[in-house]
Symmetry: D2
């Protein structure tokens, strides 16, 4: 039995740098925002370690989530005329938009890579488990929370609603492009949201684009392309991500070897021990906590953990180089030997990062709901890459970028090791 | 012996949302930025708890400091023709601009109020003590670090340089108005920086404004006025500040009473024990650490500390009300009694906040270097409030704002206490 | 009998630099826009001769009118709940907003000063006369056109609708502040429209402001104040306005004296002859036409008309000076004599411009509908100047600015007249 | 003998919506701006008839020219270190940047198509002929004016300077993209100028891009691509251009047939008679004059000229349709017959517009100075299309767009002609 909590007596308004104002009219949404699980997103940055490259990028998943909700709200207004849209569908979509990232942990990208944590799983647990979020959702009637979860994990039968939240043209991407651009201070991501929303149409099971909106979509895809190369995949950010992983790996290795930490890393124990983590434990593990340990670890006796942590906290990142492929292996081997000679474990200090293709979500036109469909004037639907040479060329462009990361500050300042020193100077300094 | 570290071979460029780009040309500046003491400013927000009101306001003192440096750099370009300006003065000013806030601790405003900590003192210690910052400055020659410190604490004999960094028209305020406005997402603070710099003139011992720039300055002062009322003094932010103070006071009280914390608050001990704090201890105390303890304290046995901490972390702030003066005391007393009756210590839960005048730095036209001086076409200098009725009216406007803060969630949801309940409902709900 | 033309099958969208997009949903509005009388507004600049000072200010009354319509449309959405609002009221207001300036002629301000033309009269004639506009309005039913006219001339009994279009907080001012700021390229006028609309409330017979919106209104009034001093009353613009008037006066004088123009100024004849002007004649007299004559007049034999016209077309404006009051009269007299000596008629070349008070519409808090009323939390209404010291100070500030305009290029380049020359050099060059 | 006029005692500053401020330091530039030939550019819109599609696009070649000058000025600052750059080169380039469009006539694009007028020729004549511009330039020394002209017509031996003003990355395009975007109110053209200038390098005979700037250039090219499709080639603008040409053709035809105009079109006579036009005659022919005639021609007896003129002035444009190629010829023929039947000469009312490829200047990578060259890290130069798949795809994309324009208002409102009427309704109304 669905029973809406109804509308607030007066709307609540958030000042937002991206959308200017975010409007909340529904009790449901207002109460979800005030749950502790949602407030926790204030302690998880939207772009992980990117703030070490773009200092403005301190924005959190808290406001991104509000922004996704706001765009969904505007899109629903735009799609008013959609025949079978009812109040329940509306509130389901708004709740799902707000909560789609609620399970994210600290530095999700790097964290999930090192440990076996998946934010999607935790999003579902938060929505369905013993949480304030679940309590609020449950007041909407039996099954409501489950439906919100199924919209987020894409199994809900209403394909249109699923599509609005998860597709090439979803409200999630729209918000993060605009938000990341605003906070990083770059202009590449600033597409025309108002026009974008106007060229979209609900078409049975998915959102399509009216034919005359093709150039608008091309522009949007180009902005994404630019954001990837200029912001998301910036080499300095990849360097800080590698460092973060190295710290976590070292800490786990130490723990497994029985090392005695000054301060027991109790928040990490279930992870280090690969035990089942409780919801309560997971919710405590935010970026404040991780950062706190990194600061503590700077004083650990283990010089590797201490150095890596200090590098992260004080931003002394590894530098990088693209070696020509011809002598890449040879150089790597020599660097490895040098490092071992001077006592730097290459496992933590000589890192590789291969981008052999664009990230999955830049654009991919396969799978039933994966493409972007134009509704041609004659009624036909066409995937945009069939019509737009620009989009096609982005689909076809496979750029690889293989970088080697190493502690330049150490290598360039060797006191002894005359042989290595001269080789290093000539090899790493050629720019 | 001053010996400049010289220019970088290529300039370093930071992407900045406010100034678009921040340019670093001097070795000195580049090395100062890379010290751990300066990097620490990344962990101290520019606006303290304001992000709980304006979610975008996550920006840190790190980029504010870069921004102040950048405006100083532009102003020096503008003042090129200034007769006695030399390279050393230039580097002194740039370093001072960059470092003026380096001694700030976590949530400075509230912290300094509760404990006897003054960020100005720590700024000086960091510049003159055993730090990376001092090491970099010392390489510029004997006395350089001391001069930087004296510019910041306003005792340097070159009054013009002191004035550029500390006055009604200083580069500090210019950056924070623009930056706070950008990140909070409000438009009130966005004055025209380029024009502002153009109407300024170096005039012996201070920065003055050419007569035709009067309206530009009026606009700037109005923006400040708006930022104060709309952002800095927002009642919700004052509420979160009061909560923060209450937590710190409760923790200290507990410590003094011999309470056994689950986790020894080692970072706070020198403060709690009112001992001399070492530089090393101070530098470890950033907002990450404070926030970490607040999260830990949510699980403390002491229900007051636990509740206050939980309110802060999960953003369940005290609500507020302006009682008419006539029945203010009576209402306060009744609220106090009610709280004691239901077991809420009013010391922590019934808080007052009196803004009986505008904050000191909104604008004050007294003291030799305090005013804003117009250079009239006839050569005379006049304080702007003599010429501008608008500025005068701001000087004269004394607005008081007395608010009472209390836990509305508790008071409105009393289960028993029928008497108190009805009184509360009628008194607190009348809006 | 009111009979709405109904909604367009799809909305029409204008790209607008100020509001991003302007949406037209009503047949009525779409058809009014396409009348020739409305299209004529494309040939009348919003800011008259200001483009000679701010080169970006080429925008026309055509888009200002669209913008006023758009804000009215948004305000109506905001006021949805207004009890007695019906479709007819809505269309009346939208039509009035669109047409409120339709009677403006070329360079209205200067033109109306020289000739006895009043744009308000012509607006009414266009709405009620034999025009395409009247035809479209008449299709809405008997009396509709008359009501639109009466909203514009403020005699309509629905005071709220009148107030929305004509008051201190009217949609007209809101658009022009934003638009003039955008096109002139200044930031002073850019207030937060979205917030402004949100703090307004319909209250029986007028628009009021909820108490918490006071600072928003203060900000808005300050922007107006800045726009007046920085843009609307810019001395260079006042100079070009004086020149324009001088040309028109000279042309009329010549006509009256029987001067034979190379090209008969047929468009001006009814004005020169002070005859009744037909609607058709008036509608032909746009800025293209006036500008065309000015270009023709550069080749007239009358050297005064030719010179004045050439100055306007080639932007060789009169320069200006504020003489100290003490010797103002003496200097003026001497300048007058000098001019007559060298053969420059002072009537056209020595011009005065006295701004002895702020223009009427900067802010004036008298008369029933003249002020800005706050709706206090306790229900009371208060004029904002009772509550805001800032607004009060603007009300009280009477700044006078008396300037003398003269052809500096001639006076400073005298070949003979040694006496006058040295006096002029010493008197006019002292800056 | 070059002799600089030197620097102004104080700089002159123009408020500009695009660059915020435009700074003039050189006497030369200030005096060029104040010539009547340069001021005349105020009466020629930058985007011709585009204001009929994007109402904000009222901006003129006057401020575009100032903007091109300003970017050139900034670029020179950026290129300071360029070895052989001297003051004379600097002033040559600045003057050429300012004057590059000075020969443009009214609605250049359409005008030049109908008559045998080429703005490049007139630019040269203005610079070298008996003009105020020539007088100012000549004061710089013998040969200066000729060199300015040769920079503009690309024959000057200093290839770098030529390249800065005329190439794929020239300062002309940079300004117009930003300016057209600002005034039209679209965001597509807003690339990051500051960054763009920073990735450019002077390299002997041309401007090249440092390798790391590739994505910046891709972004810039995409913005151009978007501006072409969304603004410059907008079908409504093409319709108003076709109408303009039709009017001019009809007027010429009438003149040649001896038709007696109400008002002799004296400004057009040299063109109509295909005689040599004097500089004085050319300079009088601006858009004010053309517009004036169009307004006069609305009252001509010739119904074709009157109707076409009225359509233009009152914006009753021809509508358009893309017929499928299969039945295109057939439909055209039928339309032609219909028009002749009802007395509409198809020569003026049935117009075709074939865009069979992108306009020449969208991007073309051929010819020595035609491409955009990256300076690779290894020193090599590569044309960007060799490196960027995106640019390549734009080069390869040939989109054709064939539209038919016709007076829908007439065709859809036929009173009689039952046959034609039903065919028309079914054929033109199928959307």
């Amino acid at each position: 039995m669905y029973s809406s909590r109804g509308q607030l007596s007066g709307s609540k308004v958030f000042k937002d740098p991206v959308h200017r104002y975010i409007y909340v009219y529904d009790h449901l949404i207002w109460e979800l925002i005030n749950t502790k699980e949602f407030q926790r997103l204030r302690r998880i940055k939207q772009l992980g370690t990117s703030f070490l490259t773009f200092h403005g990028a301190e924005h959190t998943r808290f406001h991104h989530s509000l922004g996704v909700y706001e765009i969904a709200r505007q899109l629903i207004d735009q799609f008013q005329q959609y025949p079978e849209w009812d109040d329940r569908d509306r509130e389901l979509l708004l709740a799902a938009a707000l909560l789609h990232d609620v399970g994210h942990g600290p530095f999700s990208h790097a964290f999930e890579h090192v440990f076996s944590v998946r934010h999607e799983v935790w999003t579902e647990r938060i929505i369905l488990g013993d949480t304030e979020v679940n309590k609020v959702l449950s007041e909407m009637g039996v099954g409501f929370a489950e439906e919100v979860a199924s919209i987020i994990n894409k199994t809900h039968p209403n394909r249109l609603i699923v599509n609005i939240l998860s597709s090439q043209l979803d409200v999630d991407r729209m918000d993060y492009l605009l938000r990341d651009a605003h906070f990083a201070g770059v202009s590449y991501g600033k597409f025309d949201l108002e026009r974008m929303l106007r060229v979209l149409r609900p078409d049975e099971d998915q959102v399509v684009v009216k034919q005359s909106g093709m150039h608008t979509i091309e522009d949007y895809i180009m902005r994404r392309y630019q954001m990837y190369w200029q912001v998301y995949l910036h080499p300095a950010t990849r360097s800080s991500d590698l460092l973060l992983k190295a710290i976590l790996e070292r800490a786990q290795e130490l723990y497994e070897s029985g090392y005695a930490f000054n301060l027991t890393p109790k928040h990490f124990l279930p992870i280090f021990e690969q035990k089942v983590m409780t919801l309560e434990q997971y919710l405590k593990l935010d970026e404040t906590v991780v950062y706190f340990y990194f600061q503590e670890w700077m004083d650990e006796e283990d010089s590797i953990l201490a150095d890596l942590s200090s590098r992260f906290v004080n931003r002394r990142l590894l530098k990088y180089k693209n070696f020509p492929e011809a002598n890449r292996d040879r150089h790597m081997e020599r660097l490895r030997q040098t490092m071992e000679t001077i006592g730097l474990p290459s496992k933590y200090y000589l890192l590789e990062d291969q981008l052999s293709q664009l990230p999955y979500d830049l654009y991919k036109g396969q799978g039933k709901y994966e493409g972007i469909y134009l509704q041609m004037n004659d009624g036909e639907r066409k995937e945009i890459s069939e019509v737009s040479m620009l989009v096609q060329s982005i689909l076809n462009s496979r750029q690889s970028d293989e970088k080697i990361y190493y502690p330049e500050d150490v290598l360039l300042n060797l006191k002894d090791y005359a042989n290595e020193k001269s080789w290093i100077l000539s090899t790493l300094k050629d720019e």
